[in-house]
């Protein structure tokens, strides 16, 4: 699959935003590390919402006809893309109610209820983002429950690293935030490792024989019938060399998981301070971006069978 920059940016930014907001609610509820002040919570919440809005706006850049984008909310009952849009939009007012109830000292039940609902909606939205890809039977590398699991884990890992950065800047006791990040980042790393292991051999897939129905003998492509590329070759023809993909997987693990983990140790030992927390957050997000690029680059759409691939 052709890795579209706007979609990569959208999923990474909105995933981090939704993750940050839900974890901010947990940090607020349990007053982790002494608890953020009202202003700090509101600022953090607004940054999270900013990431989400920024992501949603950038996702409209990959639309060829954005003037009809408002219609995307209309097929909630069948389309995961529509569901994602609806959930993301419902998230906004709920998040604002939560932030307002923090700012204006609303009763605790309102603050906690709105915060909880916002956190759940954030989770559902990221899940829907993953399901956009996971529901496609045409791409074996995506058609697995590991995909929404990965999207959630990567989003929450980025969010937890951003929250840790906030805690360090706010001068809170960083230990509970470090523990939270360590846990979520390692879960994300394990899920990603399972995914990479799984796509090496994703089981039975369509072949050029089932695609053409000519199952009685070997089949090979003689001619694609077009002189230059087509929409299909541009959208689905992208192929990544096995070696390069292997190298990028190492980059994902080193930059996305190992480096933030090391920085957590630094922050814990109070050696690097803010710089270490900044590096952890940026490395985590950069790793997620590489991971997302690779997620698209490694996906093989079955239409490639008609262009000569023997299996997908």
């Amino acid at each position: 699959m052709h890795p579209a920059f706007s979609v990569i940016f959208f999923t990474v930014a909105s995933g981090a935003g939704f993750g940050l907001f839900s974890l901010l609610f947990i940090a607020d509820t349990f007053k982790l590390g002494g608890g953020f002040s009202q202003d700090q919570l509101v600022a953090g919440g607004l940054i999270a919402m900013g990431l989400v809005v920024f992501g949603l706006l950038s996702s409209t850049f990959h639309l060829a006809n954005p003037k009809n984008a408002w219609r995307a909310f209309s097929r909630f009952r069948t389309s995961w893309l529509s569901r994602e849009g609806v959930f993301a939009v419902v998230f906004m007012p709920l998040a604002l109610i939560y932030l307002a109830s923090i700012m204006f000292d609303a009763p605790l039940w309102l603050r906690e209820t709105s915060g909880f609902l916002t956190a759940v909606l954030a989770w559902i939205t990221v899940f829907s983002t993953g399901m956009i890809y996971a529901c496609l039977k045409t791409i074996r590398q995506w058609n697995t429950p590991l995909v929404p699991a990965n999207y959630l884990a990567m989003g929450y890992a980025s969010g937890s690293l951003l929250l840790l950065l906030g805690a360090v800047i706010a001068g809170l006791d960083a230990t509970p935030y470090i523990a939270m990040s360590a846990l979520i980042v390692s879960i994300a790393a394990v899920l990603k490792a399972i995914y990479y292991f799984w796509i090496r051999n994703p089981g039975l897939t369509p072949t050029i024989n089932t695609a053409t129905g000519l199952t009685r003998a070997k089949v090979k492509l003689l001619d694609t019938g077009h002189t230059h590329g087509t929409f299909l070759t541009q959208e689905f023809g992208f192929q990544i060399a096995r070696q390069k993909a292997g190298l990028l997987k190492i980059v994902v693990f080193v930059v996305g998981f190992v480096l933030p983990g090391l920085m957590l140790v630094w922050v814990f030992n109070q050696q690097g301070g803010q710089a270490a927390a900044v590096i952890a957050a940026f490395a985590g997000i950069a790793g997620a971006a590489v991971e997302r690029w690779l997620f698209f680059a490694e996906a093989r759409h079955v239409v490639n069978l008609y262009h000569g691939a023997q299996r997908c």
Binding site: R71, A72, T78, K137, K218, G225, H228, F231, V303
Partner: protein, 231 residues
Amino acid sequence: MRLGLVIDLDVCVGCHACAIACKEWNASGTIGPLSDYQPYGAEPSGVWFNRIRHYEMDEYPNNKTVNFPMSCMHCEDADCVTVCPTGASYKRAEDGIVLIDQTKCMGCNYCSWACPYGARELDRSSGTMKKCTLCVDRIYDEKLPVEERQPSCVLTCPAHARMFGDFDDPDSAVSRTVRERGGFPLMPELNYNPTNTYLPPRRKPVIEIEAKPKGGLKESIKQFANKLVRR
């Protein structure tokens, strides 16, 4: 009704006339135009509803070229319709034709990801997704003579490799042909239940190939001399 095409892989000669006729009709059809990019330039490309690919089956001396026209299969379980977030893609209840409402499409490409057959192509100039309409603007046109109320690809095919009809009617020509010739759907394992059906190439006897002369140089010279004498 369940309208669709039967394509006879035994007969298709790979002339691309169906694709040209399709382009010609649909360029001014309900969801036309079908934009071309650099049609006379170095990298010609554009929107087509019907594409013909060419394959080789088996190996020498049993090999056979199979010409393979493909357009929208008008699937019974069309995922392209269910994934569409705007409601632009729809499948007609009355005849099963899958269409795209050009006024609703936002050009997100998601339906093309869901289609295993590569039937949907984005038109970069209109920013909307386009696909085979089964010539919905022809087959119901009462101003045309009855025999011309068929998709233009079917009408134009010089080898009669294409048939159009109702698959729900067990006595229709398409249903009967599919039964008699053992027609098959493409990629049935994905469970899209495509309507369009393909007829397999017939098995033909292997043509005997003239045996090469045995022996070395001496034998060759002898044969050459014999030929000269005979003349």
